[in-house]
């Protein structure tokens, strides 16, 4: 039926479906973002007071870092409240606070993510193109390699893009966050808590970033060559399920309609599927 629809009709149908999901207040986002932060913060006194063993706290801290990114990502797109709306303060609060376990500034995430949306898969202008790799194992390896400074400490990835778009002010955020993160680790280490600092923050942060880059950036865009509206990301079936893969099986819905909350992207996908097929989107596996 959709095959017979004109370009304008397809666009209209798609927008009507998207609009149905775009205005819901995503209550789960502030609960998730702030709750996750509180759990991570509570690990520190629980471990220091020997209430919680470090071997249990470490995997929890890893999950906290893995889970801290998406609430901030929802805030980047103003899902809780758009600029000028009454709850905008909550939107920004969730954005700033939920990223703390990752030691990443919200403004940096906001600016670079918007550049990603503007230039998906562009070899020079997409800040996330550094996750492009040959396959899943290479993606994990590249996540760690791309975090290295490189010869001469050349700016690339987020730093390169921020300089390119003239947002050096955001680079200051990044530098200050890094300094605070390192200073916290040094202070903990020299007060006898180096192992705790390593297993509650330093290692979980590295593991969490690899996980986020794999599922959020690499998997939905791989091989990351196409730049069209309907083929710059794909629909795919994850072996670990939708929740464990950060809901990214439906990532193209997010690129098409960034105002749809993450939890609603599967529903929007099911409703839009005939339109997406008519548009020639990529479907890997039998995604329901």
């Amino acid at each position: 039926m959709t095959a017979k629809l004109s370009e304008a009709e397809l666009r209209k149908e798609e927008r009507m479906i998207a609009r149905k999901y775009a205005d819901r207040f995503p209550w789960e986002v502030p609960v998730w973002g702030l709750g996750n932060l509180l759990i991570w913060l509570s690990l520190w006194p629980l471990v220091f007071m020997d209430i919680l063993p470090l071997w249990i706290a470490f995997p929890i801290a890893c999950v906290n870092v893995m889970a801290c990114f998406l609430p901030a990502h929802e805030a980047v797109h103003g899902m809780i409240a758009r600029p000028g709306e009454k709850l905008r303060w909550l939107n920004e609060l969730v954005g700033h606070l939920s990223l703390l376990p990752m030691a990443m500034p919200y403004r940096l995430q906001k600016v670079t993510h918007m550049e990603h949306h503007k230039h998906v898969n562009h070899p020079e202008n997409d800040p996330d193109i550094t996750t492009q790799s040959k396959g899943p194992w290479d993606a994990v390896w590249q996540s760690f390699v791309q975090r290295q400074r490189g010869k001469g400490g050349a700016m690339r990835g987020y730093g390169y893009i921020l300089e390119k778009v003239g947002r050096n002010d955001v680079l200051v955020d990044g530098a200050l966050y890094q300094l605070t993160f390192f200073a916290s680790l040094f202070a903990l280490a020299w007060n006898g808590y180096a192992i705790e600092a390593a297993l509650l923050w330093w290692a979980p942060r590295h593991i969490g970033i690899a996980y986020i880059q794999f599922f959020f950036s690499w998997a939905p865009h791989h091989p990351a060559f196409k730049k069209g509206r309907y083929d710059n990301a794909k629909f795919w079936t994850s072996r670990v399920g939708n929740i464990a893969s950060m809901g990214m099986q439906y990532h193209l819905i997010h690129h098409l309609h960034p105002f749809i909350p993450l939890r609603d992207t599967p529903k929007a996908y099911r409703e839009m599927r005939p339109i997406l097929e008519a548009r020639g989107c990529t479907f890997e596996g039998d995604l329901k």
Partner: protein, 71 residues
Amino acid sequence: MAIVEFLVKNILHFMPITFGFLFFGPLFAQIMDRLGWEQPLGFSTLTLGLIIGGAWGIFAFFRGSWIWARP
């Protein structure tokens, strides 16, 4: 921007060395303490931790990578 240039050039630029000494040094020492090592190779655990951590940091600084491979 003056502040970011100062931070990057003077503090973050040398961070691998600083990190090796100030974080990995005490970290390795405390791991050795937990393992019950006393005077490994004739050094105190902190001295040996600082030697290993510091050497790794210096390597990372000049190589541009903690893990040999670099972008």
